[in-house]
């Protein structure tokens, strides 16, 4: 059983403009981040900053709104969050997968992220991202304009590869 909880962070009363996982051990193979996020203002995305970095990031989105589709690129890593105008108590859901986070390669990142707005316009986004830096990821910051709303949560897992002693690879 090699998918291990590293840390769970829940935003408290008053909100927070950022959260950060620090001192991430390099003992795992991949990182897996699960987010449930709402903003206390009108912002529909938040930022992921590996090692606090706000540079050397690129991404491509494929996005649906319930009525239209689009694809766009940018120089940031941007999962969705529910804005304050969305139906009360709805939080956006996000999976972030970072393979080989401790390697000396650039870090490719896979993101599946959706908002929920009780049947009105809402978004589903697939995002391919890369942090073009060969440094091992040892911290992961999630930040937003304004604040993450109370009860927004972020859960980080480490995934360890290995052998079951039966499967062979060639």
């Amino acid at each position: 059983m090699q998918k291990t909880l590293i840390e769970h962070i829940e935003v408290g009363s008053g909100g927070a403009s950022s959260i950060e996982f620090t001192s991430i051990s390099s003992e795992f193979t991949d990182l897996y981040l699960v987010c449930s996020v709402r903003n206390d203002s009108g912002n529909l995305t938040f930022n992921i900053n590996p090692n606090g970095s706000t540079t050397n990031k690129t991404r491509i989105n494929l996005q649906g709104s319930g009525s239209s589709v689009s694809s766009a690129s940018g120089t940031d890593i941007t999962p969705l969050q529910s804005s304050s105008s969305y139906t009360s108590n709805t939080f956006a859901s996000t999976f972030v997968y970072i393979p080989n986070y401790a390697s000396s390669n650039n870090k490719s990142i896979s993101i599946d992220t959706v908002t929920e707005n009780n049947g009105t316009t809402s978004y589903q986004r697939l995002q391919a991202a890369v942090w073009s830096d060969t440094t091992a990821i040892s911290s992961l910051e999630c930040s937003t304009a304004s604040n993450f709303a109370q009860f927004s949560s972020f859960t980080l897992y480490g995934v360890s590869s290995g052998s079951d002693g039966t499967t062979t690879v060639s």
Binding site: D30, L126, V130, S161, T167, T168, V169
Partner: protein
């Protein structure tokens, strides 16, 4: 706390290879999850997958949803697990593939692939292998190229818990 992703096998190529094949896969799990950061020896290449050494393209079909940063679309193919989220000579692509009910013998095998390459595009692919046999081996390869040293592929078993 731990959850049910059981590592089955992993490899990082130390030299180029035509494919990476996982064999003797136990039927003890519900799903299989394959995580690949592929790399080609030359140019941009699409990734493919075969099960149980079945190399007949007509036994595979998939539906692809893609975006490349400016346009988007949907198409069909055979054993592809990426479309714009293809690999090239760096390590900037990530593909995560989940194969459902891989050991069942009463259904065709289906998979979901999420492939990513921030310089070229993002894909979601639903695929099917039209065979009811339990999957005991998986071959990962590049459709028109060779896997380069540094390619890493890991296989996990999942019990959906």
């Amino acid at each position: 706390m731990t959850t049910a992703w059981v590592p089955l096998a992993t490899t990082t190529l130390s030299s180029s290879a035509s494919d990476i094949t996982f064999s003797s896969i136990s039927g003890a799990y519900r799903d299989l999850i394959l995580v690949a950061t592929g790399k080609s020896t030359s140019g941009t290449q699409d990734q493919g997958i075969n099960f149980n050494a079945d190399g007949t393209a007509g036994n595979y079909d998939c539906v692809i949803m893609w975006g490349n940063g400016s346009t988007y679309g949907s198409t069909t193919s055979t054993w592809l697990i990426d479309y714009y989220g293809s690999v090239t000579t760096d390590n900037n692509a990530a593909t995560i593939l989940q194969i459902m009910d891989y050991s069942a013998t009463d259904k065709h095998k289906t998979y979901l692939s999420r492939s990513n390459r921030a310089a070229s595009g993002v894909d979601a692919i639903a695929g099917r292998w039209s065979n009811t046999a339990a999957i005991t081996s998986i071959k990962y390869f590049l459709i028109g190229g060779t896997l380069a040293a540094g390619t890493t592929v890991s296989l996990y078993g999942s019990n959906r818990s």
